[in-house]
Symmetry: C2
DNA sequence: TCCAACCGGATACTGTCTATCCGCTTCTGG
DNA sequence: CCAGAAGCGGATAGACAGTATCCGGTTGGA
């Protein structure tokens, strides 16, 4: 469903389309979904007009990329399901998903503030919800999972960790693993003697920084001309 | 520091000032810090001009209220410190802070997206940081706290829980307690056999709703005339 | 009684993002 | 090789949201 359109675009047009998608992926990952279609165009090194001719609006761009992301997530789920040890499967799932989110701010956006997500949230949960439930069920059968824990719990646990990821991405990108470990210990059935945590505790300075708006959270202010680097030579013209 | 100004305001002016502060507190709690000074004025039943004559901008209003909130939080800290059992003290602290946040969206805003907080974050952490450290230290001496856990960890744990609170405030206001329990179990030293969780797992429907932007997260759209209910009769005029 | 202090709220500004338009350029098939 | 359809760039119009001011009219209190 990627590009099997009705009648083929002209060669340059198709190239620009890909260029835009690529730029959008990068920008979404880097800054989140709030980037402008104009931003994307500039980053892709094409005119705004071109962007709007290819995609009616940002929504369409997101849609075009969303499938990919969703597939990735689903793949992680399958992969986790393939893991012979159920508990390890669950852990792997969380680790991988979260790692993906560290690198892709846009993905986190869809999950946390689905302002642009709407129907996509539904789609996502229909796709990965079942996998999650399987993962949980398996772990329950193994007896490794705390009584009463449901698939939906994982979603909220992920949401919680996301907040940490978001706050620390630029300050201490791996810190979330510390709290993931804590979570996991709170989630397993037989409470093994809690081992050492994987990451050292954040310093007070890191903590401060993580809570400070110096990063570009919602409305970043980038100096002009910093992002209009057309990484690729323009197509036509 | 509340109102001991240089020379007293005229009676009506002072009344309006209080009215504005009151309105601001309500609105911040209900909708977060993103409300407009105009919103506040309308909610207070006074003109915008009046609002701007009393406070140069929203910042000033926040400042005027921030001290109160901070004091509340600090009080919770002290209170927790007074608790004879260190572990219970820590738990109490978290429970009470979080409960406060459920009711006050603005408080959460300052912590999570301090776009308007800045220096306030510093102030806050200077004020409650030490208390937190004492709380932790005490628990460590008791031996009830997991090795290596620091005061800063609590901040991030709180941040994580905040995300859940924010997402579920309107759908399942108490749900966060379920995850608090999980957290706590991941944080204590001797892993007691994990008891039942305090709140049932969220249904899939609740989960969906929590992730849906039907609530007013950043840019709510309220129908006109819904909020311009001057709860109090206007002062002068 | 008088006037400095105050009030309301229309409105001018500002900044941000969306989306279109149109003159020029480039592909492509006959 | 050439015509003209398809495409291109980017200035700019428009929509909106939030900020802040101004000024004619009102009020408190010495």
């Amino acid at each position: 469903m990627t590009d099997a359109g009705a009648r083929p675009l002209r060669k340059d047009a198709e190239a620009n389309r890909r260029r835009l998608l690529q730029a959008a992926a990068e920008l979404f990952a880097e800054r989140g979904l709030q980037v402008t279609l104009n931003d994307i165009a500039r980053h892709a090194g094409v005119g705004v007009g071109t962007a709007y001719r290819r995609f009616a609006n940002k929504e369409e761009v997101i849609d075009a990329l969303f499938e990919q992301r969703l597939a990735e997530v689903a793949a992680i789920g399958e992969h986790a399901l393939a893991e012979p040890d159920p508990w390890r499967g669950l852990v792997t799932y969380l680790e991988q998903i979260l790692q993906l989110q560290v690198k892709d701010r846009g993905l986190t956006d869809i999950i946390n503030h689905p302002s642009l997500g709407q129907h996509r949230v539904t789609e996502a949960s229909e796709r990965i919800g079942p996998v999650l439930n399987l993962l949980i069920e398996r772990a329950h059968r193994q007896g490794s999972l705390r009584e009463g824990l449901a698939g939906t719990d994982i979603v909220f646990l992920q949401l919680a960790l996301d907040a940490i990821i978001d706050a620390t991405r630029d300050v201490a990108p791996g810190l979330y693993r510390r709290y993931l470990a804590i979570f996991l210990d709170g989630i397993r059935s037989e409470a093994a003697a809690p081992g050492p945590l994987p990451v050292p505790a954040p310093t007070e300075e890191q903590t401060q920084k993580a809570l400070s708006p110096s990063r570009p959270p919602p409305g970043e202010r980038r100096r002009a001309g910093t992002d209009d680097r057309p990484d690729f030579p323009a197509a036509a013209t």
